[in-house]
Symmetry: C2
Subunit: 420 residues, 2 copies
């Protein structure tokens, strides 16, 4: 399934990328460099542009483009009739239908499946069972059915694989969901193997927050360093530095739930108060809204789906109801402190926010996040920090999951993502 001609897939880890120039795999590396340049160029690149962007010779570019075209990955537009002097440059583009990738987002509230093309545009999507309401085995069956549906119209050999985004922590070496606090009963679930066996496709797995950050980078690579705040059933982060995800030693970077942001607030399952995760969860905010008389009490044993519906009612109410708005404003101020802490730690150019709970909270949250970040980030006297919504909005994780597969196939240095 890999694009590299040797068949074993790229293995250009950080250490290897620092090696000298006579690497045995340099041909594959250069192909990946060309594909990477093409995917970042929205309107295609001429051969001269490609040579300029990659530092490769004109002859190398010609050879690589020919090989990529033979494999259906790029198209070369026939030059228009010359109406000036000389022959116009033929733009080379990725062929959107050249390959496809599947994204699966396993979430307590809903499982989403999407098919994206080679430009990471969504071609088809499905929603299916909530992970918190089912077993891993039944979820896998539902996922396999949805994958079959979204890939029905596509030639099997053009489907690169499946990216699965799950709540963390994960053990990506083993392909295991270690046991997220928000997925009761999911203890060391071998999800990668389950999905591979159920779909017959190669599977890459990552945390939902990391997938969202990769998806964002794929669609909006500027700036190339940002903190992605992921608002879903829980809260997490993904970090991008120098245009690449910062995955952490075991792909578990971004676990920010226990970052303290308030001297009070609800008691977290960790036993402490003031954790940003516990104080930002829809379940907490719904509880605060009930206490403020804004919402009717939920059932004591309300599941994540019911809580999500109540959270929607809270966010709708906030547009015209001051007490409802105050619940969200208080939460936004706490999240803003977490954002500033992460900006101070990592000195990034932007904070990007997305995930399933974002579009509902954005009208209240975004202005507060912007104001607090601008006023209190340590490096504010050196550079500004932009705060903006993810271009992928609520679908950041599922589209990002598909982008993990593209990233693996495209990237000249896919250090930690291994398709098995």
């Amino acid at each position: 399934m890999s694009w590299s001609s040797s068949g074993s897939g790229p293995d250009l880890t950080g250490a290897r990328a620092r090696r000298g120039a006579n690497l045995p795999r340099i041909g594959d590396f250069n192909q990946a460099v060309v594909l990477d340049a093409l995917r970042r160029a929205r309107h295609g690149l001429s051969r001269a542009d490609l040579s300029e962007h990659t530092g490769l010779s004109a002859q190398s570019i010609t050879n690589i483009v020919r090989r990529l075209a033979e494999r259906g990955l790029v198209t070369e537009q026939a030059p228009a009739l010359p109406h000036g002097r000389g022959r116009p440059a033929a733009p080379i583009r990725l062929d959107p239908a050249g390959r496809f990738a599947v994204g699966v987002h396993v979430d307590p509230t809903v499982t989403s499946v999407a098919l994206v093309d080679l430009t990471a545009a969504v071609v088809a999507s499905r929603r299916t069972v909530a992970a918190s309401a089912t077993s891993p085995e039944r979820l896998t069956t539902a996922v396999a059915d949805a994958v079959a549906e979204v890939t029905a119209g596509v030639a099997a050999e053009r489907v690169l694989g499946v990216g699965v985004a799950t709540p963390g922590p994960v053990d990506t070496g083993a392909g295991v969901v270690v046991g997220a606090p928000l997925l009761p009963g999911w203890e060391r679930v071998e999800l990668r193997r389950l999905v591979r066996e159920a779909t017959g496709l190669p599977v890459v797995m990552h945390k939902d927050t990391a997938a969202a950050a990769v998806g964002e980078l794929w669609h909006e690579p500027d700036p190339a360093d940002f903190v992605f705040l992921y608002l879903g059933t829980g809260l997490g982060a993904g970090f991008v530095v120098n245009g690449e995800l910062l995955p952490g030693r075991t792909d578990n970077a971004g676990e920010i739930g226990h970052l303290m942001v308030s001297p009070d607030g609800p008691r977290c399952h960790c036993g402490q108060v003031g954790c940003v995760g516990a104080s930002s969860m829809p379940r907490t905010l719904v509880g605060e809204a009930v206490a403020a008389g804004v919402l009717e009490p939920s059932a004591h044993d309300a599941g994540d789906v019911e809580i999500d519906a109540a959270f929607t009612r809270l966010c709708v109410a906030a547009a015209r109801n001051a007490p409802a708005r105050e619940v969200l404003e208080r939460s936004a101020a706490r999240l803003a402190r977490a954002a500033v802490t992460l900006c101070n730690a990592l000195d990034v150019g932007a904070v990007v926010v997305g995930g399933p709970a974002w579009s509902r909270t954005e009208p209240v949250f975004l202005p507060i996040l912007r104001e607090v970040v601008a006023a209190t980030t340590e490096a504010r006297r050196v550079h500004e920090v932009a705060v903006r919504s993810s271009v992928l909005g609520d679908d950041a994780a599922v589209v990002g999951a598909a982008c993990l597969v593209l990233e693996h196939s495209f990237s000249p240095s896919p250090a930690t993502l291994l398709i098995r």
Copy 2:
């Protein structure tokens, strides 16, 4: 001063390093790769080892080693008399006296200057005025005198340059100390220019916490990912990922002072309570010790030098006095929460602690840090996180500052460090 033959210094930023193989500067890159391999090998490497480590051909290695030897950077030990079959491999080593680098650590409490050789071993050192007690101009004069003293016995052409470590935030593009809260009166000080003019040497500048992390990596490169907690007059961090410093967009990563770790504690200059920086500062702990009856009250206007002396008395008392010990234990617990938060965010393999205030607090702090990190880090079910003292101890920043110069000269990808 640069080792690269083109004279303009390496410019292999992340973006460029991802280019294809026919880069114009590849010769210089390969020299840097060989030097990098040699500095990581404590006992030298044979030509075959070098070829194995770098991926370069035997012929390339021979050419590069010859050029490096001509420039006095490496030595090739004459092979011992053969006593078995064949000719034994000649180990190639860095020549310690081949080049030297100066480190300068500007700190509120004391300014330190050190000369290191090509293996980053300290050859000479001096201590001089406290930055908080003098003006930038007078400090620069004192630094220039100390630099002249430590370099007196060394041929001028072998001194690569000066690395300056200062409290953050910094504007490294402009070579400016932006105005650390702990350096009153130091507002946008052009320290790089001042030191360059006073010493006549090229100068590279970085935050003290970043310098300390680079110094640690230079002396102890395993693991290649860690959080460095820097305990000095203030508290900061340096992050190393994949064997490289994570500098941040403007070299200001690691500003963790306002990370909240407690629902109470002293009020920080930012207006909030519970900031780990304010609650960890020697000045705060001395105040708490006075309140607990452990220390005599300090003068109301006590300077950083007096506070540092009182802090030493507190740490000595903690060995036999329970109330003194409790002051440090409470601080250690807060610092531990910050360490866990950073481990959760970045998913690193280790926490390393050092800086001017560390050796005094280590007996109380280290066991508490180890216990809390082991018990509460999110990824603890996936991997352990080691907690250990810096191999450079209290001198981490000044030795690290010298290593910034070596890093610039050695590293195949010195993305952000520019000698001007």
